[in-house]
C-alpha cells in the first residue's frame, strides 16, 4: 500500500505511506562496538511483529555516536536483511548539507526508501525554518523523498502547521511528517484541514512519542506511527483495531501497554529501558548503549520487570 513499485523493486517512500514504521535502535556489543550480527536479529524481530517500515539513525538510534562509516555499514546491513520487504527510512539530520548529501546518496543507492531530517536547534523564525528546509530539499536531491521530523521537545524548534504546509507546498519530495510535537493533536487536525482546503498537498503523517498518544492521534487523522517501543506489536495491534472500527478494544490494548510505554518515555534513561526490553525479548545480544549514555540501576530493572509482569497479566486478561 505504501510502496511505489515501478521498474525498480526498491520500496520508495510516498505520501501514501501508512502503518507502523519502527524506529530501530542501533545495537552495540557490551564493549561499545557496533553489533551488526544483532542488526539481522532486530530486522526479523521488528518484521515478525508487523512493522510496515523501519527507520534507522533516528534520535533513538544513537546516530550522533556513530562515525560516518559505521552509519553506512549499519544501514547497509539492515537493508540487506530487509531485502526490500518493507521500506527503510534513514535519519540524516544533524550535520551540514554536504554531509547530509553524502549520507543520503550512500543510503539511497543501497536501497533506502527515503531520508528523515529534523531542524537544527538554532532555528527560530519561520523564515529561518523555510530557508533551512529549502537547502535540505536540494541537498537530499529532488528525487529523494524526505520526512520532516517535528520534535520540539528535543530540538527546541517550533514548526507551526502553517510552516509545515509551506514546506510541503514548496518541496514535492517532502512526503511525510514525523509528528512528535507532544502530543500536538491540534496540529494533526490543522494539517488535515489545510489539505482539505487545498492549502497543501496531502502528506503522510506518522506519529512519535513512543506511541503514548496513539489512539488520539489516529482519531485526528494520523496514518500510523513512526516510533520505537520495546513492544512494537502494541502499535501494530492498536492500529489494526482502529482500522477495524474496534476503538474500544484498541484502547484496551493501548492501556495495557501504557504503564511500560510511559516508563520508556523518560528522557535520557528511556532508550536504556527500551534496549533492556529488546535484549530481554531476544531482539539483540546486548542492551548496551554506546558511551555517553545512561545505565540502568538495579532499581530501574526492578521497575521494568514489575511492569513487564503486570503487562503480561493484563494482556492475558484481555484475551479472555
Amino acid at each position: 500500500m505504501h510502496l511505489t513499485t515501478g521498474l525498480s523493486p526498491m520500496p520508495c517512500l510516498t505520501t501514501d505511506a501508512a502503518g507502523v514504521y519502527v524506529i530501530s535502535v542501533t545495537p552495540f556489543a557490551d564493549d561499545g562496538r557496533l553489533d551488526l550480527a544483532s542488526a539481522d536479529r532486530l530486522v526479523e524481530f521488528y518484521l515478525e511483529r508487523g512493522a510496515d517500515g523501519l527507520t534507522l539513525l533516528g534520535m533513538m538510534g544513537e546516530a550522533p555516536k556513530l562515525t560516518r562509516d559505521e552509519s553506512i555499514a549499519f544501514v547497509a546491513r539492515i537493508l540487506e536483511s530487509v531485502a526490500g520487504r518493507v521500506p527503510v527510512v534513514v535519519g540524516v539530520s544533524g550535520s551540514g548539507y554536504a554531509s547530509m548529501r553524502e549520507l543520503t546518496e550512500a543510503v539511497m543507492e543501497r536501497g533506502a526508501a527515503g531520508v528523515m531530517v529534523a531542524p537544527p536547534p538554532h532555528l527560530r523564525s519561520d523564515e529561518q525554518i523555510l530557508g533551512y528546509f529549502a537547502g535540505v530539499a536540494e541537498a537530499v536531491g529532488a528525487g529523494t523523498p524526505f520526512v520532516l521530523q517535528d520534535f520540539p521537545l528535543s530540538t527546541g524548534v517550533v514548526l507551526s502547521a502553517a510552516v509545515i504546509a509551506q514546506i510541503a507546498r514548496a518541496h514535492s519530495n517532502c512526503v511525510m511528517l514525523k509528528h512528535e510535537d507532544w502530543p500536538g493533536l491540534a496540529k494533526i487536525s490543522a494539517l488535515r484541514q489545510a489539505e482539505g482546503r487545498g492549502d497543501m498537498p496531502r502528506i503522510s503523517i506518522l506519529t512519535g512519542n513512543g506511541g503514548v498518544f496513539l489512539p488520539e492521534e489516529l482519531a485526528r487523522g494520523a496514518d500510523g506511527a513512526m516510533t520505537g517501543f520495546g513492544f512494537p506489536e502494541m502499535m501494530v495491534d492498536v492500529l489494526r483495531a482502529h482500522r477495524d472500527g474496534e476503538a474500544d478494544y484498541a484502547r484496551d490494548l493501548f492501556d495495557a501497554y501504557l504503564p511500560l510505554a510511559r516508563y520508556e518515555q523518560q528522557p535520557g534513561l528511556g532508550l536504556a529501558v527500551r534496549k533492556y526490553v529488546l535484549a530481554q525479548r531476544g531482539a539483540m545480544a546486548s542492551a548496551a548503549l554506546r558511551a555517553p549514555g545512561p545505565r540502568l540501576s538495579r532499581d530501574d530493572i526492578e521497575d521494568i520487570e514489575c511492569l513487564l509482569a503486570r503487562q503480561a497479566r493484563r494482556l492475558r486478561e484481555l484475551e479472555h
Copy 2:
C-alpha cells in the same frame, strides 16, 4: 504528622512533610476575572479527596497572569477557607528578590506554611545556582520554610543531586524538594543515599509530573506527591495503598487513572484539560484559563469524555 504546632496554631512546613499536596489551579470566570467564590469550592473539593496540603501559584496556577494584588487576594481567600486544616504552600518564583520578599511576607503573615521557588531559566553553572538560592534563602527570610522546585523540563535548569544537597546543607529553611525532573528516579535515590551518608540533612521530597511516575517515586523514597491532576484521590489512594504495603493494588489504581493523567500531562494544553475535569466535577464554576491560554477543541473534549468513561468503568472493575 507534617505540622509543627507550637505556640502558633498555623501549620508550618517542615522536613517531615509528607502526603499529597495538591497543586491548586486558580479559578477564573469566563471573562477572565479571578473567581474567588470558586476558591472556596476548590478547597473543599481538594480536602474532601484527602489532600494533606495545598500549593498555590505554582506553574499550573497561572501565577504570572495575576497582578500582585490578585495573587495576595487569592492566597488570602484560600487561607481563610482552609482555616488551618492543612498547610498551604505558595509559589513565589519568577521575580526579583524584592518582589519575592514582598509576596512572601504578605502570604506568611496571612498563615501560609511556606513558599516555593524554582530557579529562573538563565541559571547554568552550579556556582550560579548556589548563588541564586543563597539570595532566595535570605529574601524569604530565615524563618520561612521554602520548597526548592526542580523542574528542568520547564525551567531548563539542571539541579544535580550534589547541588541540591549543597543547598539543603547551606540553608536550614530549605525543607523540601518538589521533585519534577522527568522522572529523575535516580535523583531521589541519590538524595536519600546522601542523607544516609550524612552528606545532607533530611528533607522532604514530594514529586510532581502530574503523578504519572508516582509508584516508582514512592519506591525510591519520596514522601508523597505535590502535583495537580483532576483526580487528586488517585495520588491519595495510591499513597495509602503503598503505605499499607499493597503495592500491587496501588499499581492497579494507578493504571486505571494513567490514561487520563497522561492526557493531562500535555505541555500547554494540559492545564485546560485539568480545569475542564475539575469544572465537570463541580470543583469550580468555569474551566476558563486567563488569556493567553489554550482552549479545548471539540475533539479534545471528546477525547476527555472517552477517557473519563473508560476510567470510571475500570475503577468499577477494580472495586469488585
Copy 3:
C-alpha cells in the same frame, strides 16, 4: 519634532519619534534602597547632554528587581522631574497581560509617552509571536503607543522583518521598533524597503546595543538611538554630525568613544561599568546595583579609568 501636542501638554510617542532616547539606569543607594533623589540628578544629567527622550525600566534598568510599587514610584518621580520636557517611555515587559495593563495604566496616567514590550523568551514561531503581540496591543490599550523591543541576544526570540511588518500593520499603536538585533543592519534596510513598498506603515526605528553600531545604523535609515552609555553625548553628537552631513566627523567622534562603549557592552558586568561612569560623572550618588548583580573588581576599575583618560585625550585631539 517627536511630540504630538494637541489638547494635552503631555508628549506622546509617535511614529515620527527621532533622536536619542537614553535608557536610564535605576539609581540605588549602597544598601540597595531605591534612590529617588538621584533620579532627579539623572534627569538633569541626561537632558543637559541632549537627550530627546528617556526610557525607564528597560533591560538595563534593573526592572525585574523592583517591586510594583517601587517601579511606579520611580517612574512617577522621573516624570515629575522631566515635567514634559521630553517624552518618557516605560518598559512593561516580563509579566502577564494583567500586570502589564496595570503598570501601563499607572504610568500613562502619570504622563508617560508610551510603553515598551519585549517578547518573552519562550516564543518561537511567527504565529506565537503575532499572537503574543496581539495580546500586548490590547493589554496596553489602543490609545497607548508601544515600542516593540527586538533584542534576540537577550530574549532568544527572533523577529524577522516580515513579522515586525505584520505587527506594525496589525496594531496602529505599535509606533516604534527598538532595534537591538546585533547589529541587524540588514533588518533596518528591509523594514525601510517594506515601508517604501507600502507593505507596512512607517514606524520609528531607534537602535540599541549601547550605540556601538550607531554610524552604520543611521546610514541604513534608523531615526536615532534608544540605548544607554555612560556618555550619552556621544550618541547626541554623532547623530547631529550625521544629520549635518559630516559623516567623517561623526565617525571620528564615534571612534573616540568606542573603546569605552565596547567595554560597557559586556553582558552582566556592563551595567556596573555604566553605573560607575555615571556616578563618577556626578549623575547619581552611588554606582551600586541592587542584588543580584556584579561588582567591579579593582582590575575592572583600573581598566575603566584607563579608558576614560584615553577617551578624554582623544576627544581633546579631535577638538583641534
Copy 4:
C-alpha cells in the same frame, strides 16, 4: 617557546603555548567547493603577519559544513603548507566521541599539535560538564593535547572557573583554555589565582572574541590570542607592544583596528566580513561562504570599505 621538540620534529601543544594562534577561515570557491589552493596562500598570509600558530575547523572555520573527508583533506593540506613552522590546532567538536576519536587520529598522525573541543549545547550542570570532558580526554587519547573551548555565547554552556580548574586537574592533556566568555576578564584572573594557590596546574590561556578585548585580557594574564580577524597583525603587534611594556602604544594600535574588529564581530554576518577582508588582501581567491551562509549586501561592503580606509589613515597617523 611554545614548542616541545624532542625526538619528533612535529610541534606539540603544551601548557606554555603563547602568542597569536590565528583561527583560520576555510576557503571555498564561488561554487562552494573546497579551495585547497587558497589554503596554501592563507598559510603564507597568516605566517607572514606573525602568527605563532594556526587553528583549523573552529567555529569560524565552517567546520560543520565539511564532510569528514573534506575536513581531513583541508587539515592535511594546511599541515603540508605549514611544514612544522608553527603548531596547528584542529577543532574536533560537535560530534560523538567515535567521530571525535577518528578525526583526532587522522589529524594527529598528519602532524597536528593538538585538538580543540567545545562543550555541546545540552550540557548544564557541573557534573554533566565534567562527565563530558572525561569522555573527551579519553576519546582524543591521553597523548593528545587538547584545548578546552569556552564560548558560552555560542554554546550556551557556562564553564565556571572552578569547573575549568577541575578539568585541568583531572586531565593532564588539557593544556589550554581558549577563553571566549564575553569577555570574562574575571575568569582569567580567577584561573591565574587558582594556579597561584596550587588549586590547578598552569595552563595556557589564549583569548577569542575577535580580539576586541585583547588589551584587557593580556593585563589579566592571558598568554595571547586564539581568534580570527582580517588583520591578524593587530593581535601580533598589540601583543608585542604589551610584552615590550608599551601599554599605551598597544592601546593606540588596538583602537585603530577596533572599529573594523567590532564590525567583524557581528554574529552571523561577521564571517562574511572577515572573508571579504581576507580576499581583498589577497589571502585567498574568493570570499564565498559555503551555504548556508550570509552574503554581504552593497551597503555592507560600503561600510567595510569605509572602515578600511579610515583604519589605514589612522594607522598612518600612528606611524608618525
